[in-house]
Amino acid sequence: MTELLGIPPQLLFGQLLLGLINGSFYAVLSLGLAVIFGMLNVINFAHGALYMTGAFVAWLLLSYLGIPYWAALVLAPLVVGLLGILLERTMLSRLYKLDHLYGLLLTFGLALIIEGLFRNAYGVSGQPYPIPSWLQGGFNLGFMFLPVYRGWVVLASIVICFGTWFLIERTRLGSYLRAAVENPQLVRAFGINVPLMMTLTYGGAVALAGFAGVLAAPIYQVNPLMGQQMIIVVFAIVVIGGLGSIMGSIVTGLGVGVIEGLAKTFYPEGSATVVFVLMAIVLLLRPHGLFGRTRT
């Protein structure tokens, strides 16, 4: 067996691939977080909780109504999106004029409420969600056995990420959104309903989190703590990528997953810390993140 730096290549490539899978979740979540920050200037601490809600909605649909995975993939993000719209209309929209920190604190509180409710109802041991039959099995890639489902997760995430990027950066609707961020008064003068756009943006971005939740359900089990375990890492990714930068968050999300994979191969003890070290370094060298634009 040939070895790279004392590590069997199977292990290295395997960990990198697993890193890419984790990175897909990071990318979808940090993308939503970046969109929300870009458009609403809010750091959405509830993002992890809404990701978890997506997984739970899928699980509830399956176990109580028998609604299968592919339908949940559409329905759960819708439900989470509607919940997001409700939260934005009733609470978040009152804070736009205040310091950003209040948005952070409000969504932190919301995250605790959502998480606590699910913990009360279902405990923290995790509910199993079966892998749909048409995504079971796996490929033997030579260096590792790749379960079909995990391949599907990477594919679906990348499609969703670039779809969102295209929507915002390359379509007319996206250009309104970006303009509304730069100069809300002007856009309103053109007869565009800016508050409605903000509401829809928040709804859309948390729907992405819900989608990621459904993708995660068969892998991680449906657990009230799954969002909490994710959110801090995703925060770090958004900061590394540059607050508000959409492409930055996608690329950084995938990249951090891969770097974590590397760390798991060469220095497993440090794999959980590596993202925070990266963040500290990036902030010292490039305070606005790798892809951040300095906004005036």
């Binding site: 069997p8 405990g123 033997n140 892998i219 657990n223």
Partner: protein, 403 residues
Amino acid sequence: MQVSRIALCAAAFGLITTGAQAEISDNTIKIGVMNDQSGLYTDLGGPGSVEAVRMAVEEIGGEIAGAKIEVLSADHQNKPDIGSSIARQWIDQEGVDVIVDVPNSGVALAVSKLTGENDVAFLNSGAATTRLTNEDCQPTTVHYTYDTYALAIGTGKAMVEEGGKSWFFITADYAFGHSLEQDTSNVVKENGGEVLGTVRHPLSSSDFSSYLLQAQGSGAQVIGLANAGGDTTNTIKQANEFGIVQSGQQLASLLIFLTDVDSLGLDVAQGLTLTTGFYWDRDEESREFAKRFAERMNGQQPTMVHAGVYSGMKHYLAALAEIGDDGGKAVVDQMKKMPINDFFAKDGVIREDGRMVHDMYLARVKAPGDSSGKWDYYEILRTIPGDQAFQPLSESRCPLVTQ
């Protein structure tokens, strides 16, 4: 106000008063059942253990010599700080006389120390670490059902003898996992095997794929799972997803409970070798207990932890009735004098280090075709006699053992 002040003083000097008098303090016997009631160890203990204690209490009529028996319960959430602050409050404010169950070795060690300092009995069924009866032993602690030494001697030895010579461990990173890994490594090495490596994961993890990949990369014949409850079932499921067993490596589920097998399903769990202190369908007496338990638990059959809690509770109450004193050390001393003969143990003895010695069983999970239905999961391969199953007293590191 006066009353509560006196009560407080009484609590503050509780150590002196309870130690001095041979009677049942405040004429009640308070039993505190503490375990995981919301997390990964809920099914193997949890509400079932509380129900097992209630059964034991009801069967002796709810009182001893006019002293009423009360049962409290609490969820320690697998956090040692939460567990010890519950225990402290129980001891200081509620006047609890015995704390029962306490799975999660980390929490159990914290509780054992507190109960030892305050002369409160501690009847552990759920935790596994051998430290409870070695360097951290207490005169008030009884370790009733099983421990990591017994698991290693059972499953570990059996698998090495079947040819699994090289091992890789996936270990839960806390007292229990370390203890189980250590004891199993010793057994593997003593029997001519070798340990190629180990990887540690945080308690209650969700994704085991990268650990499994490391285990696979090691080329070991056996992957030893030094974890429990939800962690074990998740590892086994994901090993299945990544085709680990199909590619020729064996899984050694060093600690697996009946409820874990139930949640895995026989398709996934079949063929696993395991060590247990109790199986409900073993003989007439065990079936009789299981039937009564299941009637109160919506048909769920008891795990070894549930059975140990019930048997230990009966034994505690019998010893207490014998001496009419609820001081922790006094009751435990009495418990050590009386042999245990019931559905759980034949001629079980509690040693001076607090270890309850009884027969253990090596079992194999049935294939779906061999099972007659839900809960018919184990085939008992052989009985491991108590004197072989547990660490010999001569090797004990417990200061209480006179050598």
